[in-house]
C-alpha cells in the first residue's frame, strides 16, 4: 500500500463516508479512520480542522481538508500529495 498522510473522520451511518473509504481502499491508499460518534477527541479535532464543520466525511489529505465525498477533488489532492 502507498504511504500517504490520509485521515478520515466518519460516522457509522454515513453512506458517503463508506464510499470515501472504499474509494481510498481501491486506490490502495493507507488511511486512519476516526468514528467521531465514539471518539470525542477526534470530533473536536475534526471541528477545529474544518472551522466548525458539522458534516462528514471529512478527509485530511496532506495539508488539505475536504468536506464531503468530492471524488474529483480527492483524486486531485491525492495526486498532488503523492507526488510531493
Amino acid at each position: 500500500m502507498t504511504e500517504a498522510k490520509v485521515v478520515v473522520y466518519s460516522t457509522p451511518t454515513c453512506p458517503f463516508c463508506k464510499k470515501a473509504k472504499e474509494f481510498l481502499t481501491k486506490k490502495e491508499i493507507d488511511f486512519i479512520d476516526h468514528d467521531v460518534t465514539k471518539d470525542r477527541d477526534a470530533l473536536e479535532e475534526m471541528r477545529k480542522l474544518t472551522q466548525g464543520g458539522l458534516s462528514v466525511p471529512v478527509l485530511h489529505i496532506c495539508d488539505e481538508i475536504i468536506i464531503g465525498f468530492d471524488q474529483a477533488r480527492i483524486e486531485k489532492v491525492l495526486a498532488d500529495c503523492l507526488s510531493s
Binding site: 453512506p15 463516508c17 462528514v56
Partner: protein, 400 residues
C-alpha cells in the same frame, strides 16, 4: 479548396442552426437564399431532389440537411470532402468512434440500462458523476425485491459489479456539460473537455436536493448547513439542530436528531405533510419544537452556523432561532438542466416520457427519477432503465 454552399430561406430555424454549426467549426460557406419557386430554389431542387431547407452542397454534390451535416462532420466525412484530412481524423472523437448508446447517469436506472444494452451487444458508454446516485443518500433499503433489508452501499455495489461483468465502458466522477441531441449522431461534452458521440442516448440523471436559496445557505455548507441527516445527525450530540421541511424526509431527520441533540426545531412552510405515523411521533417529542407556516429567510453564523431567521406566513412576524445546524429537507429537483430547452418537460422540470421511455426526440430516451414516471423508487428506476435500453435497441435496429 472545395466550396460549400448552403441553400436557405428566411425564418427557417434549421437553416440558422446549420449556419451556426458551420461557423462554429470554422467552415466557410456561401449562403444562397432560395425563396420558394425562385430560380435558386429550382436549381436546388434539381440538384438535391429535395424541397426542404437547408440543403448543403459541396462543389455541387448534395449532402443533405442539418442533421446530415452534423452526422458528416462527426464521422469526418465532411472534412474529407472539404479536402481537410487532418481535421477528418480529429473529428471522430478519438479511438472510441461512435457508440451505439451513451447512458448519462450511474444510479439504478442508468446501471440497469447498461446491462440491458450490453446484453443486446450495443456498444455502450456510461457516464456518471457518481455510481449509485440518490440511493446512496439513505442507509437502508427494505423494499427492493429480493432483499428484505440491505444497506444501500451494499446494494449499489451489487448493481455496479453486475454492470462490470459486461462490456460497458464507464467513466465515473465526470459531469456532462452539454448535449447536442437533434440529428442522427448525438454529441455529449463532458467537464474534462472530452466529446463522445452516439447514435442513441438515455438520460438517467435522477434528482438532487432542492436548496432553500437563502443567504447563508451556500456559505455554510459543511459548517452547519447539511442535506444528509443519515450522515450528519450523529454529530449533533449536545447541540441544537433545525430541520427545514414538512414531509417524510424532514420528519425522519427530526427523529434522527432528537436521539442526540438537546433541542430540535422543525420549520415548515406548510402544515406537516408527512405520513401521519411520523407526524404523530414528532408531535409527541418533548425536545422538538414545531413551527408550521413559517418561511425560512436567512441562515446566520460566524465561523459556523449560529442561527436561522424565520418569518410567519400568517402575520409576517420575524424570529431568530438559535441553532448549531440546519438540515434542509424540502424536496428534490430533477437534473434536467442539460435538456430543459430541448426536450419536453413537465411543470416541475421532469422529462416527459411515454411508456417506452421515449422523449419525443429521435434516438433520445430517459429513465428513472429525472422523468415523469409517477413513483420514484429504486425498483421502478431499475425497470425504467431496462425499458429505455430495450427501446434504444429497437430504435437502432430499425435504423439499419
Amino acid at each position: 479548396m472545395p466550396s460549400l454552399k448552403i441553400y436557405t430561406i428566411e425564418g427557417c430555424p434549421f437553416c440558422i442552426k446549420a449556419k451556426a454549426f458551420l461557423a462554429e467549426k470554422g467552415i466557410e460557406f456561401e449562403e444562397v437564399p432560395a425563396s420558394p419557386h425562385s430560380e435558386d430554389w429550382q436549381r436546388m431542387k434539381e440538384k438535391t431532389r429535395s424541397g426542404s431547407v437547408p440543403q448543403i452542397c459541396i462543389d455541387g454534390e448534395p449532402l443533405g440537411g442539418y442533421s446530415d451535416l452534423v452526422y458528416l462532420e462527426a464521422t469526418g466525412i465532411l472534412w474529407e470532402k472539404l479536402g481537410l484530412t487532418d481535421r477528418a481524423k480529429k473529428a471522430t472523437a478519438g479511438e472510441s468512434g461512435i457508440y451505439d448508446l451513451i447512458v448519462i447517469g450511474g444510479g439504478p436506472a442508468g446501471l440497469s440500462a447498461g446491462i440491458y444494452a450490453a446484453r443486446k451487444l450495443m456498444k455502450t458508454f456510461l457516464i456518471a458523476k457518481d455510481i449509485g446516485g440518490q440511493v446512496v443518500w439513505t442507509y437502508d433499503i427494505d423494499n427492493y425485491l429480493g432483499f428484505t433489508e440491505v444497506d444501500t452501499a451494499g446494494l449499489i455495489s451489487k448493481f455496479h459489479e453486475h454492470v462490470e461483468k459486461y462490456d460497458v465502458a464507464t467513466r465515473e466522477g465526470i459531469e456532462v456539460v452539454s448535449v447536442e441531441l437533434s440529428g442522427r449522431i448525438k454529441k455529449i461534452t463532458t467537464d474534462d473537455n472530452n466529446i463522445y458521440l452516439a447514435k442513441s442516448v438515455i438520460i438517467a440523471t435522477g434528482k438532487r436536493p432542492r436548496p432553500l436559496g437563502v443567504p447563508g445557505e451556500q456559505e455554510y455548507i459543511g459548517r452547519g448547513v447539511a442535506f444528509c441527516s443519515t450522515c450528519d445527525a450523529p454529530l449533533y450530540v449536545d447541540l441544537t439542530a433545525t430541520v427545514v421541511g414538512g414531509g417524510n424526509s424532514a420528519l425522519e431527520a427530526a427523529i434522527d436528531l432528537e436521539k442526540v441533540a438537546t433541542r430540535v426545531h422543525l420549520v415548515s412552510l406548510t402544515p406537516l405533510t408527512g405520513d401521519p405515523i411520523l407526524v404523530e411521533k414528532v408531535e409527541g417529542m418533548e425536545k422538538v419544537d414545531i413551527y408550521t407556516e413559517y418561511n425560512t429567510t436567512r441562515i446566520i453564523g460566524e465561523q459556523s452556523v449560529t442561527g436561522i431567521e424565520i418569518v410567519s406566513v400568517k402575520d409576517g412576524k420575524k424570529q431568530i432561532l438559535d441553532t448549531d445546524g440546519v438540515f434542509i429537507e424540502i424536496g428534490l429537483l430533477p437534473n434536467s438542466d442539460l435538456v430543459i430547452d430541448t426536450l419536453t418537460t413537465n411543470r416541475i422540470g421532469e422529462i416527459t416520457v411515454d411508456s417506452e421511455c421515449r422523449t419525443g426526440m429521435t434516438g433520445v430516451f430517459a429513465a428513472g427519477d429525472v422523468t415523469n414516471v409517477p413513483y420514484k423508487q429504486v425498483i421502478v428506476a431499475a425497470g425504467e432503465g431496462a425499458k429505455a435500453a430495450l427501446s434504444a435497441y429497437n430504435y437502432l435496429i430499425n435504423q439499419r
